[in-house]
C-alpha cells in the first residue's frame, strides 16, 4: 500500500499546479464561468496537449500516456483545488470507462473513440452518473429516455450513455448531432461546472460494451462496476483538492484578518475549528491515496476503497468548504468573494454520483 507520493508524482503535481496558477487563477475562473462556453478552450487545449491530462490513464496503444490512477488522482487534486471550469473531469470519466472496456472487449468502437479523448480533441461525458441508472432504454440500436443531469452534457462531442437493455446494462456512444437527441443546458448551483438535461427519442447509438462474456470468459457486469468505482476515486481526488484549497484559503485569511485587536486565527473559537478541518484533510488525503493505490494495484480492495472515498471525502470536502465560508464572516456570503465557489463545487461534487447514502449503503454491504 502506497500512501505518499513518488518523486515523479510530486513533479506531476508541481507541473499541473504551476500551469493552473498561471493559466487559470481564480480571477480567470470567474471570467470563464460567465463566458458563453463556460470555460477557456485554449486553456483546455493546453491542459491536454502540454500536460496530457485527458489521456493520462489511457493506454499508450490508444494514444494516451498509460499512467496509473494514482497519477490521475494527483492531477485531479490540482484541477479541483483550482476550481478549473470546463469538461476535463467529464472527459476523464469517459476515458476511464472506455479504457476499462478496451481492457476487456475486443470492440472496434472503443479503438475508434479513445484516441480523440486521449488527444484532447474530443470533449466527452459519461451519464447518468447516479447509481439509479434506469432512465434510458436501448432497443434495436437506438436509445430512448431521459437523463436529468449530465456534467458538460451540452458541450460534449461524445456522450457515453449507460442504458438498460433486455440483458442488463450496456454502454452506448452517441454523437453530438445525433437525431432525436435534445440537450437542455441547465442553470445549476456550481457555476464552474455546467450540466445539461439529455433527452433521447429513438436516438441512434453505437454499442460500446455489452452483454455476454468478456475476453476472459467472465460476465461483463463488472466492467461497468469497476469503471464506476474508478470514477468514484477520480472524483474523490478532485474533492480532496477542493477541501485542501478551501482550508488553505481560510487559514491564510485567519492569519491576517483582525478583530477585537488581534488576528482571528489566534482565537481558539476559530483555531480549534481549523484544527478539526486539518484533521479531515489528513484523513481525506490518506483515503484518496489508498483508493488510488487500490485502483492500480489491488482490484479486490477497490470496491470498498471507492465507496469509502466517496462516503468520507465527499462529506469532509463539503464540511470544510462550508466552514471555510462561514469563518470568513459576511464577506464569505458575497458573490465577489471566492468562498461560495468552493462551497458550491463541494456540494455539487458530493451528490454528483448519486445521493451520498448510496455510497454508505454500498459500504455497508461490503463490510458489515
Amino acid at each position: 500500500m502506497m500512501l505518499i507520493l513518488s518523486p515523479e508524482q510530486r513533479e506531476l503535481r508541481a507541473a499541473v499546479r504551476s500551469f493552473l496558477a498561471a493559466a487559470s487563477p481564480l480571477a480567470k475562473v470567474r471570467q470563464d464561468m460567465e463566458s458563453p462556453d463556460g470555460y477557456d478552450r485554449a486553456v483546455y487545449r493546453r491542459l491536454n496537449g502540454e500536460l496530457g491530462l485527458s489521456g493520462l490513464i489511457v493506454p499508450e496503444e490508444h494514444g494516451g500516456a498509460g499512467a496509473g490512477h494514482a497519477d490521475l488522482a494527483v492531477a485531479l487534486e490540482e484541477t479541483g483545488a483550482a476550481l478549473l471550469p470546463g469538461p476535463l473531469l467529464a472527459t476523464v470519466f469517459a476515458a476511464i470507462v472506455l479504457t476499462e472496456a478496451a481492457a476487456t472487449y475486443d470492440g472496434q468502437a472503443v479503438k475508434e473513440l479513445l484516441p480523440g479523448i486521449a488527444a484532447g480533441t474530443t470533449v466527452a461525458t459519461l451519464a447518468p452518473l447516479s447509481g439509479d441508472r434506469g432512465g434510458v432504454t436501448a432497443s434495436g440500436g437506438t436509445l430512448t429516455g431521459q437523463i436529468p443531469v449530465a456534467p458538460n452534457g451540452a458541450e460534449a462531442d461524445l456522450l457515453l450513455v449507460v442504458a438498460r437493455t433486455g440483458e442488463g446494462e450496456a454502454l452506448y456512444a452517441v454523437e453530438a448531432g445525433a437525431p432525436g437527441l435534445s440537450r437542455t443546458p441547465l442553470t445549476t448551483l456550481d457555476p464552474t461546472r455546467r450540466q445539461a438535461r439529455l433527452t433521447f427519442d429513438g436516438t441512434p447509438a453505437r454499442l460500446v460494451a455489452t452483454g455476454g462474456l468478456d475476453v476472459n470468459g467472465d460476465a461483463h457486469g463488472h466492467v461497468l462496476a469497476r469503471a464506476f468505482d474508478l470514477v468514484s476515486v477520480a472524483l474523490a481526488a478532485e474533492q480532496l483538492g477542493v477541501l485542501r484549497a478551501g482550508l488553505d484559503a481560510i487559514v491564510a485569511y485567519s492569519r491576517i484578518r483582525v478583530a477585537f485587536g488581534r488576528q482571528i486565527g489566534s482565537y481558539q473559537a476559530v483555531k480549534h475549528r481549523l484544527a478539526d478541518m486539518h484533521c479531515k484533510l489528513e484523513q481525506a488525503d490518506a483515503i484518496v491515496r489508498f483508493a488510488a493505490w487500490a485502483a492500480d494495484e489491488s482490484p479486490g480492495e477497490l470496491p470498498e476503497a471507492a465507496a469509502l472515498a466517496q462516503a468520507y471525502v465527499g462529506r469532509a470536502c463539503f464540511e470544510v468548504a462550508r466552514d471555510h465560508l462561514l469563518l470568513h464572516g459576511g464577506v464569505g456570503f458575497t458573490w465577489e468573494h471566492d468562498a461560495h465557489l468552493y462551497y458550491k463545487r463541494a456540494k455539487s461534487d458530493e451528490v454528483l454520483l448519486g445521493p451520498p447514502r448510496t455510497h454508505r449503503a454500498r459500504l455497508a454491504e461490503l463490510v458489515i
Binding site: I4, I287, A364, I368
Partner: protein, 395 residues
C-alpha cells in the same frame, strides 16, 4: 534477513511466548512479576528496543522491523502495560537527552524489564498548563537536589523504580525558563505513592508526594533550567506512543469494535447499519492516516506536531465508539463484565483517552499553532517571573 522472514519469526515467537489471558492493567503484584519475566524473554529474543541504539542495549534496527513486529504484536496482547511509560516516553527521552552514564545505567535494564518507570509532570495546579508546576528542587550540599511537592495522574507509579520528574529550580525567571528534568528513585525516603481511584472505580493513576526527597548528583536530564525543552521531547514521544498504541491491548480485546458489535446487534436494521458504517468509516480514516504517517517517517519526513492530529482523532474515535456501542447494545451493556470490562468498562474508560497525554483542546492548540502556523493567543504569563504569577496554590 529480509523483512518477511523477520516478520514470520516474530509471529512464531509471539505464538510460542505470549500468555493466553491478557494482563490488562496488571494491577496485581503477580501481574507485575509476570510482566517483568515476559520483558526479559522479549529482550533475550531481540524484540525489546528494536530501533533503540545497540550501544545502550537496543537492537539498532530500523522502523521497518519495528513496524513489522508491532503489526504482529497487535494481533495479540503483550502483557507489558506496566512498562508502557518507560518504553514509550522515559526511555526514548533518555536516549535523546541522557548522559552516557544515565544511558549505561538505565536503558538496558529498562528494556530487560528490570526497571519500571513513571513520568512525573502534572500537578493538581498544573494540568494542561504543565509549565505552571510548583514542585521545587533546590541544590543539595552534595551536588544533588532536595525535592518537595506533589504530582498527580501518574500511571504505574505504584510499581515504579524510577521516575522522570519535572521540578522548578528557579522562581525568579518566567515559568518555562526555571524548570529542570530529574531522574528520581521512587524507592527513596520521602516518596509517598497514593493510588487515585478514578471514574472507572479502579486506580489507573496515583498521586505522589515528595517530602525532602534527596536526588543524587548526575540526575539532571538535559540542562538545569532547560527542563521545558526536555519535557517537550518526552511529550512528543508520549503522543506518538499513544497514537501507535505502545503497550495497549490489541483490537481483538475491544468490545466496541465492529467485529464485536456484529455479534450483539441486529445488523439488518437500517438505522443500525448506518451507524456501524459511520464507525467503519471513522476507523478506516484514522487507520489510513496513521499508516500514512508511518510511511512518511520511513521516508524521512518526521510527522512532528502532526502526530497531535492522530492523537486527537484517536481520542474522538474512542469516545464516539464506546458511546455508539453502548447505545446500540442497549441496557444489557450497562452490566460490567468480570474484571470491570465489557461495554460498561469501555464507556467508563473512554474519557481517559481525551484527557491523558494532552486534552483535545490542547491538541487543537498545537495543530493550530504548529501545523497551521496560526498566530498564538496573547499570554499574560509569558514574561513574568514565576514567583509573581497566580498559579496553583501561589497567589
Amino acid at each position: 534477513m529480509d523483512l518477511e522472514e523477520y516478520r514470520r519469526q516474530a509471529r512464531d515467537w509471539l505464538a510460542a511466548n505470549v500468555p493466553g489471558a491478557p494482563a490488562e492493567g496488571s494491577a496485581a503484584e503477580d501481574g507485575v512479576a509476570t510482566a517483568r519475566e515476559f520483558m526479559a524473554r522479549l529482550y533475550d529474543a531481540g524484540y525489546s528496543g528494536i530501533t533503540w541504539p545497540a550501544e545502550w542495549g537496543g537492537q539498532g534496527l530500523t522502523q521497518a522491523e519495528d513496524r513489522a513486529f508491532a503489526a504482529e504484536a497487535a494481533r495479540v496482547s503483550l502483557p507489558i502495560y506496566v512498562f508502557s511509560i518507560g518504553l514509550g516516553m522515559c526511555g526514548p527521552t533518555l536516549v535523546d537527552l541522557g548522559t552516557p552514564e544515565q544511558k549505561a545505567r538505565h536503558i538496558r535494564r529498562l528494556l530487560r524489564g528490570e526497571e519500571i518507570w513513571c513520568q512525573l509532570f502534572s500537578e493538581p495546579g498544573a494540568g494542561s498548563d504543565v509549565a505552571a508546576l510548583q514542585t521545587r528542587a533546590v541544590p543539595a550540599d552534595d551536588g544533588g537536589w532536595i525535592v518537595n511537592g506533589q504530582k498527580v495522574w501518574t500511571s504505574v507509579a505504584q510499581h515504579a523504580d524510577y521516575g522522570l520528574l519535572l521540578a522548578r529550580t528557579d522562581v525568579e525567571v518566567p515559568k518555562h525558563k526555571g524548570l529542570t528534568m530529574l531522574i528520581v528513585d521512587m524507592h527513596a525516603p520521602g516518596v509517598t505513592v497514593r493510588p487515585l481511584k478514578d471514574m472507572t472505580g479502579r486506580a489507573h493513576f496515583n498521586e505522589i508526594f515528595f517530602d525532602d526527597v534527596h536526588i543524587a548528583p548526575g540526575s539532571v536530564v538535559g540542562e538545569v533550567n532547560g527542563g521545558w525543552s526536555s519535557a517537550v521531547t518526552t511529550l512528543l514521544h508520549e503522543r506518538l506512543s499513544i497514537s501507535s498504541g505502545v503497550g495497549m491491548s490489541g483490537p481483538r480485546d475491544n468490545p466496541a469494535s465492529l467485529d464485536a458489535l456484529r455479534e450483539v446487534v441486529d445488523v439488518q436494521d437500517p438505522l443500525v447499519r448506518d451507524q456501524l458504517v459511520e464507525l467503519h468509516i471513522r476507523s478506516r480514516a484514522l487507520a489510513l492516516f496513521n499508516a500514512k504517517l508511518s510511511q512518511e517517517t520511513k521516508a524521512g519526513i518526521f510527522p512532528g506536531a502532526r502526530g497531535s492530529a492522530a492523537k486527537l482523532l484517536l481520542a474522538e474515535l474512542t469516545n464516539f465508539q464506546a458511546d455508539l456501542a453502548v447505545s446500540l447494545a442497549g441496557p444489557q451493556a450497562l452490566a460490567y463484565e468480570p474484571g470491570g470490562g465489557g461495554l460498561a468498562g469501555a464507556i467508563a474508560l473512554a474519557p481517559a483517552m481525551s484527557l491523558g497525554g494532552g486534552t483535545n483542546e490542547i491538541m487543537r492548540n498545537i495543530i493550530g499553532d504548529r501545523v497551521l502556523n496560526l498566530p498564538p493567543e496573547p499570554r499574560a504569563d509569558k514574561n513574568v517571573p514565576f514567583k509573581d504569577l497566580k498559579v496553583g496554590t501561589q497567589s
